[in-house]
């Protein structure tokens, strides 16, 4: 429309340059105004059929919980990285990928809007805009003002309510509670404090404190967290590894995976090699688990911790 108008102008008008670019500007402005008019005329997106609600999830924690409750989401974010970092439960094959976590693909969602988008407080800075496509609900276990464990339970219940899977939600909550209690019993004899860390590079680790999943699991199983220093909003601190000597008798639990070359470089790291825990064989590795996850990740972390703490006393060295 606008294009053709402008094209004709250009054919007829071989006039002063000043007038010419005014035409270009006018054409651009017209195009834009045409655009706004159509918006006004455009009815809100329609949704008709009342089958089971189609849910999309922007955050891995809600994705994990949805799938654990037996819901097959319509779409979830960044499936490839979910498979690397969260792993379980697996994403059903019919679920589509809706793009990166902080920027769900709106062109895609607009073509067949789900009945509900679950988003995290961290990722959704423009909910008003998303609300034009579909109802958006911020479901999160951080930023709630509550301690992490009740917040995660509340989040699970909320997802159960929203999807009509209340019973499954209660079952997951009870199951997690029981597993934590059982883990606490089998770990009752252990008084040694523990650092739970993830390597960032050879010299730095994320060490987990309270207020997150790791802190919760340690708390509920009555393990003593060796890290008592300051942490950020997600309950961890990035520190250089020599600070792991501040509690000399602690055990160090490393959440895998190691960043690529770190495992081999640790052999030359004199500070690491001289850490009391390393010299005395008190370092254990556990399988990859999403440390900011929901109840499923929490169960997996608990299981791994119990395994390395109670299994062989001198667990595999790094």
């Amino acid at each position: 429309m606008g294009a053709s108008i402008d094209y004709h102008c250009h054919q007829e008008v071989a006039i002063l340059p000043r007038v010419r670019h005014l035409f270009v500007l006018a054409a651009v402005a017209t195009l834009w105004l045409l655009g706004t008019d159509t918006v006004m005329a455009q009815p809100a997106s329609t949704q008709a059929d009342a089958k089971p609600p189609r849910i999309a999830s922007a955050n891995w924690t809600t994705t994990e919980t949805l799938i654990a409750l037996g819901v097959t989401p319509y779409g979830v974010s960044d499936i490839a990285n979910y498979n690397t970092w969260v792993k379980e439960p697996p994403v059903p094959p019919s679920t589509i990928d809706i793009g990166l976590r902080n920027q769900p693909n709106l062109e895609l969602l607009a073509q067949n809007p789900p009945d509900l988008l679950l988003s995290s407080a961290l990722f959704s800075r423009d909910n008003a805009r998303l609300e034009r496509l579909m109802p958006v609900r911020i479901v999160d276990n951080f930023y709630t003002g509550q301690p992490f464990y009740p917040a995660t339970q509340a989040m699970t219940r909320e997802i159960g309510d929203l999807t009509g899977h209340q019973a499954q939600a209660e079952r997951l909550i009870d199951q997690t509670d029981q597993k934590l209690t059982r883990a606490a019993q089998s770990l009752a004899d252990i008084s040694r404090p523990v650092y739970v860390v993830q390597f960032s590079d050879t010299q730095h680790v994320r060490v987990f404190g309270g207020g997150n999943m790791v802190g919760t699991v340690l708390d509920r199983t009555h393990l003593r967290n060796a890290w008592t220093g300051p942490t950020n909003a997600w309950g961890y601190a990035s520190i250089s590894i020599d600070r792991l000597a501040e509690t000399p008798d602690a055990r160090i639990v490393v959440i895998k995976p190691y960043p690529r070359q770190v495992e081999s470089e640790l052999e030359n790291n004199q500070v690491w090699q001289h850490l009391p825990a390393v010299r005395e064989g008190r370092v254990s590795e556990i399988a990859p688990v999403w440390p900011y996850g929901g109840l499923v990740s929490m169960q997996r972390l608990t299981r791994s911790l119990v395994e390395v703490m109670t299994g062989s006393a001198g667990a595999p060295d790094a």
């Binding site: 294009a3 402008d6 250009h10 010419r20 270009v24 054409a27 402005a29 834009w32 655009g35 706004t36 159509t38 455009q42 960044d78 690397t84 094959p93 589509i96 990928d97 809706i98 793009g99 990166l100 976590r101 902080n102 920027q103 693909n105 709106l106 062109e107 895609l108 607009a110 073509q111 067949n112 800075r125 423009d126 805009r129 390597f199 960032s200 590079d201 050879t202 010299q203 730095h204 994320r206 942490t231 950020n232 997600w234 961890y236 601190a237 990035s238 020599d242 000597a245 000399p248 960043p259 690529r260 070359q261 770190v262 081999s264 030359n268 004199q270 500070v271 690491w272 001289h274 009391p276």
Partner: protein, 676 residues
């Protein structure tokens, strides 16, 4: 250049810094290793293996101190050599692309060839640094490695590589988080390997530099003078630059990116009175070593109080930038001599107006394509055929008008408006300063906006977009204020203005690196905004930004007389009746407004502002008005195309438009540079 009063020498500065280093070093020992006092010497020389505290001191504190001294001196040496060879106070390892080349090589190796990393990351960094430099050489070879062309190529290569870096980091944040820390120059040590590595290389490089001392000193003469003394300029430049790159790559591979020292130390040495090249070399190395060490000690003092890492390299920039800004008004570069692009043979068009119309038409066609072509869901059957997201690339029909208007038009319009404004800002700057390296980012305005927005992200003030614009405006206003205050006395001389801008931009770099290294999950969001995403554009906001762009563009067009006369140099322009100071101030204000508006919606991307005016010139638009319009159209064209690619290339994942613009624009630009 005459010495103003007495025998000024950087000695006082070195003494001040050295006593700071001693004081801070002692304090650090007291606070961190107070429990060992009395055993300090033993811990340093022969630690007791059973005392972890002594081991920590022996393998972290001591090598870190020495590595800081060595790395600082090495970078200063590299910067000094580069500045001398290119006779340009803006040259440094970072502006020549060496550091981003090294980083890119490491990121690529980490992702796709982890086996190579076993051979040693330093060698991969070295390869990357050399590769970047060879590219820079290839781009500037035809111009016989002329200083300005080399630096221009270096900045382009640098921008290009960091764009690729950012794209990779966006997709692999979790796997690359360690590289963020390295990328921001954390100096932490865990053995003596880096110290031995650096001490040997620095010794070799210093000896080599000393052997080049005499011929390099002759470069202080004008180029023709040096030539007539029988020096092979090309060989000399290659040797000295090669040396600078070698030592930079060594530092980068050992301790990460510490860019600012290489730029700042030689500049500070020159400003505080070192005149001859050998004086500059010696004082720069001392200053560089001490600057980095003092910064690192301050960082170590602060680190027990924070949950996140404070990377020393980035902190160096944060502390060094204000220092440079303070020193700038005291800078004595030889007058406001314009650096016209001598010897550039560009095509002159018989009929540029016709080409402008073609360009306009192309822009319209591309806009139409960008609006209509995209990934569409095709029902259940197609969904089965396209697992993953169930959509395929095709033109939208009339039924999809709502989709186009609601979700595509705002992004296309925002991209176009931002492209237009940045192109105008870049054209204004380049004509005003007569410097082909000028662009909104070099001026530091977009950095100011970004600093404001990052500050907002980190402070718990709520995340309303309104706050973002207010903070962005504050940042831009402060940047502008700094620019004006530190340049008014010199009448906004081009080189000084650019150097001020670079100092401000380096502050942004520092903040960005600190945020990324702080291991904060919000880093992803920040990275995407910094890359220039149109994701958050809505109809209202894109309408406003369009109106702002058009109004500002209309305000700019009548200024063509100034834009024609200013590139001729201040004296000529003055003689022709231009009030140089007033016109520069006004144009600067216009540039600031254009940049603020563009940056707020699309992040501090700079490539369009640098590239569009150049592309316009390469296409033959020489007159001020033609260049403005040509650049504006090209800016829109490239941004719209970039936005489309960003939305569809990795559907449903989306890349920021600014990033893609840098990626496509860079290739064209390098090709154009080669033809210069």
């Amino acid at each position: 250049m005459s010495v103003s009063r007495g025998a000024k020498s950087p000695l006082w500065l070195v003494v001040v810094l050295a006593s700071m280093a001693l004081g801070l070093g002692y304090t650090t020992l007291q606070t961190q290793f107070g429990d060992l006092s009395g055993h300090w010497l033993q811990a340093l020389v022969a630690p007791d293996d059973d005392s972890i505290r002594q081991v920590v001191m022996h393998f972290t504190f001591a090598p870190r101190l020495i590595v800081a001294l060595l790395a600082g001196a090495a970078l200063a040496l590299a910067g000094c050599l580069m500045q001398q060879v290119l006779r340009n106070p803006l040259a440094s390892p970072a502006t020549l692309g060496v550091t981003s080349g090294a980083q890119l090589a490491l990121v690529v190796a980490t992702l796709w060839a982890p086996g190579w990393m076993l051979a040693g990351r330093e060698w991969i960094a070295l390869l990357g640094g050399i590769g970047a430099t060879l590219l820079v050489f290839a781009l500037s070879w035809k111009r016989r490695l002329a200083p300005m062309v080399v630096v221009l190529s270096g900045m382009v290569v640098s921008l290009y590589f960091s764009a690729i870096n950012s794209a990779l980091l966006l997709f692999h944040q979790e796997s690359l988080s360690g590289l963020f820390i390295w990328g921001s120059g954390a100096l932490a040590q865990d053995n003596w390997h880096d110290t031995r590595f650096l001490i040997l290389r620095l010794a070799i490089a210093t000896l080599a530099a000393l052997s080049l001392l005499r011929p390099l000193a002759l470069l202080d003469l004008e180029e023709d003078g040096a030539k007539s003394l029988g020096i092979s300029l090309r060989k000399l430049r290659i040797a000295a630059l090669g040396l600078g790159i070698f030592i930079t790559a060594c530092v980068v591979s050992a301790v990460g990116l510490i860019g600012f020292i290489g730029l700042a130390a030689p500049a500070i040495a020159r400003l505080s009175g070192a005149r001859t090249f050998s004086q500059r070399l010696v004082w720069s190395m001392l200053l560089g070593a001490l600057l980095l060490t003092v910064t690192d000690l301050v960082v170590q003092q602060l680190s027990p109080f924070t949950a996140s890492l404070l990377p020393t390299g980035a902190m160096t920039a944060a502390l060094g930038a204000p220092l440079l800004l303070w020193l700038l008004p005291r800078l004595k570069i030889g007058g406001s001599r314009p650096t016209p692009s001598t010897g550039l043979k560009l095509p002159r068009l018989a009929n540029p107006a016709r080409r402008l119309w073609w360009l306009g038409l192309t822009t319209l066609v591309v806009t139409g394509l960008a609006l209509t072509l995209g990934f569409m869901l095709d029902g259940a059957a197609a969904q089965a055929a396209h697992p993953g997201h169930g959509a395929q690339l095709r033109f939208a029909g009339l039924n999809d008008l709502g989709l186009i208007v609601d979700w595509r038009l705002p992004r296309v319009a925002t991209a176009a408006a931002a492209g237009l404004m940045l192109a105008f800002a870049g054209t204004l700057l380049q004509r005003m300063t007569g410097n082909p390296m000028a662009s909104p980012e070099v001026l530091g305005i977009s950095a100011g906006v970004a600093i404001g927005v990052i500050a907002l992200m980190l402070l718990p003030l709520g995340i309303a977009p309104l706050n973002g614009s207010i903070m962005g405006f504050c940042g831009a206003a402060v940047a502008l204020l700094v620019l004006v205050v530190s340049n008014r006395r010199s009448g906004f001389a081009p080189e000084r203005l650019l150097l001020t801008g670079i100092a401000i931009s380096s502050l942004l770099d520092a903040m960005r690196a600190i945020v990324l290294a702080s291991d904060d999950p919000r880093a992803q969001q920040l990275l995407s905004w910094l890359g220039g995403s149109t994701y958050y554009a809505g109809l209202t906001s894109s309408g406003w930004i369009m109106i702002i762009a058009i109004v500002l563009a209309l305000m700019t067009l009548p200024l063509e007389r100034w834009l024609t006369l200013l590139p001729l140099g201040a004296p000529t322009a003055k003689a022709l009746g231009v009030d140089v100071d007033r016109s520069r101030l006004l144009l600067l204000t216009l540039v600031a407004l254009l940049t603020v508006a563009a940056t707020l919606v699309i992040g501090p991307l700079s490539f369009i502002g640098l590239m569009a005016p150049h592309m316009a010139r390469l296409m033959g638009f020489h007159g001020a008005r033609q260049q403005l319009i040509g650049a504006g159209l090209l800016g829109m064209l490239v941004m719209i195309a970039a936005d489309w690619l960003g939305r569809n290339l990795f559907f449903p994942d989306q890349l920021p438009a600014g990033l893609i613009a840098a990626l496509i624009g860079g290739v064209y630009f390098m090709w154009g540079l080669r033809r210069l």
